[in-house]
């Protein structure tokens, strides 16, 4: 109970004295986040159109606003004016609830995404776990949308979404866990502060395994956002529009907004976990409040931080788009193969490797000692050895399967 009090008053800077005050306080934070999600949606939809156009040697939208920058706004107004259609045989309540659930699960994530050291709504000490947990709510919304539409394409999309979530969630969680092992905390604020200083303090460069951890996280996060090559639940060329085939007007817009919001969230998490969060990687800029001083310094420092994390996140969003417009969609069985047979074992091995690296390097002061170095070399060697053995075993079993005559011999 006290936690609500401390939480609300720490967020607001004063203690609300009535329920109305509490509700008002929530609104005070909900409005800017909604605005931010909408702006992220506007910018990234425009970026998507432009990037896809340039990849395909087109120019993309050019008419509304400079280089078509206001095209998305015009489309949004058009969607607002559209008729709100519900299929006759659809489950009306669930049909209406699904976009809300999907949007809410994305929206809630923004509560813990930090913009700078000060500008974070709730610095939960379980921040990263919270994000992983609410991220999984979205899948339920998608399944709800697909099932309630009473359309076979939608239902296929829903089943694919459920398959996808059980496939990518474990490698995703394990890659997050590897970062938690390195940082020693689940709070996004603590994780970022552990990466202050020069660029090479970022977790991406912290140990040789972090690159692979980042790759696994990035691939799994593409699946979480249902982005190509994992856009199986939508799959325009197979399922019309998949789970949102029957949605029109604002409900469709909300699904879209949630998708782009989720893209920002997974990118921001990647930035916080691997790319130094709001730190620019130049200590002078990151601690500019020391040289400017006063309130101005703090404000400038936080503005630089917010700008940094937003730019970094948008760079990652551009990479997601680049991947979408250059790679073909994979099949459902390939997706499960990739997530469960490759990403899952690799992320387990990486978790062990990262933990061992921390165990041998951490207490021995920078890994200078001979013992630490030997153990690290042994770790790498044993991992390579295990990989070879695994390769031999799978080769042997493949042989056995293909040549049943050899069965007696083996």
């Amino acid at each position: 109970m006290e936690s609500y009090f401390t939480f609300v008053s720490s967020v607001l800077g004063f203690e609300p004295t009535s329920l109305l005050g509490f509700v008002g306080a929530i609104a005070v934070w909900a409005v800017p986040i909604t605005a931010f999600v909408s702006v992220v949606g506007l910018v990234s939809i425009w970026l998507e159109r432009k990037i896809s156009a340039h990849i395909q040697c087109r120019v993309g939208p050019m008419e509304v606003g400079p280089h078509g920058a206001l095209q998305t706004l015009a489309d949004g107004i058009k969607l607002l004016g559209k008729e709100d259609l519900v299929p006759a045989q659809a489950d009306r309540i669930l049909f209406g609830l699904a976009p809300m659930l999907v949007f809410a699960s994305t929206f809630v994530g923004f509560a813990v995404i930090p913009f700078s050291q000060k500008a974070v709504i709730a610095d939960l000490n379980l921040g990263i776990f919270f994000l992983a947990a609410v991220g999984s709510l979205e899948a339920i919304g998608v399944v709800m949308a697909g099932w309630s539409s009473n359309n076979k394409w939608s239902l296929f999309g829903a089943i694919r979404a459920a398959t996808q979530v059980v496939s990518y969630e474990i490698p995703l969680g394990l890659s997050l866990l590897a970062v938690v092992v390195v940082a020693g905390s689940m709070s996004l604020n603590d994780i970022t502060q552990a990466q202050s200083g020069w660029v090479w303090n970022w977790f991406l460069f912290r140990n040789p395994f972090m690159w692979a951890v980042f790759l696994i996280y990035f691939i799994a996060s593409l699946a979480e956002c249902k982005r190509a090559p994992f856009d199986l639940p939508e799959a325009e060329s197979e399922l019309v529009s998949g789970f949102h085939t029957e949605y029109s007007g604002m409900r469709f817009a909300i699904f879209f907004l949630a998708e782009y919001g989720a893209m920002y969230i997974v990118s921001a998490i990647a930035v916080v976990l691997f790319f130094g969060g709001w730190y620019t990687g130049i200590p002078f800029l990151d601690h500019i409040s020391g040289s400017i001083g006063g309130t101005t310094g703090v404000v400038v420092e936080n503005l630089i931080g917010a700008g940094t994390i937003i730019v970094k996140s948008f760079l990652l969003i551009c990479v997601q788009m680049w991947i979408r417009w250059t790679l073909p969609r994979i099949r459902l069985d390939q997706m499960m193969d990739l997530c469960l047979k490759y990403l899952l074992p690799f992320s387990l091995v990486l978790l062990v490797a990262v933990s061992l690296w921390q165990a041998f390097q951490g207490p021995i002061d920078g890994g200078n000692s001979v013992m630490g170095m030997i153990m690290l070399a042994a770790t790498v060697a044993s991992l390579i050895w295990m990989r070879r053995l695994a390769g031999r075993v799978s080769k042997a079993s493949a042989l056995r399967r293909e040549l049943p005559v050899v069965k007696t011999g083996l």
């Binding site: 609410v134 339920i140 399944v143």
Partner: protein
């Protein structure tokens, strides 16, 4: 409640606490009734989402933050999704289940429910309840208890206990889960000889 001595604000805090609690309780119980009353099995799975969310909220309300988020992560993200997945993949007929339930079955279930409810209410009344803060406030010697009181959450404390005092049960449970996984994989596995296992 520890907020008792805080005068007017304390009273507000208490009533606010009550509002949150009753909202969460309603959020847990109404969908639970929905599960029982609903005739469509997919609706039941979606009602279950509400109950699981409500229980997670109750955990958070009791300052068990790690437990609450694990509830969302495991039960909603994992189990509820799998449940929906299973229902949608296996059912081809309209998903109505009510017709099979006979009237005596309902009566016996109601009787059992009443007995369990009375028992639960009795034992809840007999138990002396403490919040985490009330329980550890007098001593405050334990560093982990201090962490809880300071609002640093339960995750670190839980982790320390699981890997020190309770390592044996923890490892036994992990091995049990591993055995279950291997067993499930074995049952689902296609026989290499060609036929189905």
């Amino acid at each position: 409640m520890s907020a008792a001595g805080r005068g007017r604000e304390g009273e507000w805090a208490l009533s606010f606490h009550a509002i949150i609690f009753w909202a969460l309780a309603a959020m847990t119980i109404v969908p639970a009734i929905g599960i029982v009353v609903s005739k469509n099995i997919v609706h039941m799975a979606f009602w279950l989402l509400g109950t699981l969310l409500g229980v997670a909220g109750l955990y958070l309300h009791m300052e068990a933050d790690f437990l609450g988020m694990t509830q969302v992560f495991v039960y909603i993200g994992g189990i509820n999704v799998l449940l929906l997945f299973g229902i949608m993949l296996t059912n081809r007929e309209p998903l109505y289940v009510r017709a099979a339930v006979k009237r005596p079955a309902i009566a016996s279930a109601v009787l059992l429910g009443v007995v369990v409810a009375v028992g639960l209410i009795q034992s809840f009344g007999a138990t002396e309840w403490h919040t985490v803060k009330d329980a550890v406030a007098p001593g405050l010697a334990d560093a982990s208890a201090k962490a809880v009181v300071n609002g640093d959450g339960t995750a670190a404390t839980l982790g320390t206990y699981l890997l020190s005092d309770y390592i044996l049960p923890f490892e036994i449970v992990s091995i049990l889960l591993l055995v279950v996984l291997v067993g499930a994989a074995y049952i689902a596995r296609r026989d290499p000889e060609g036929g189905s296992a």
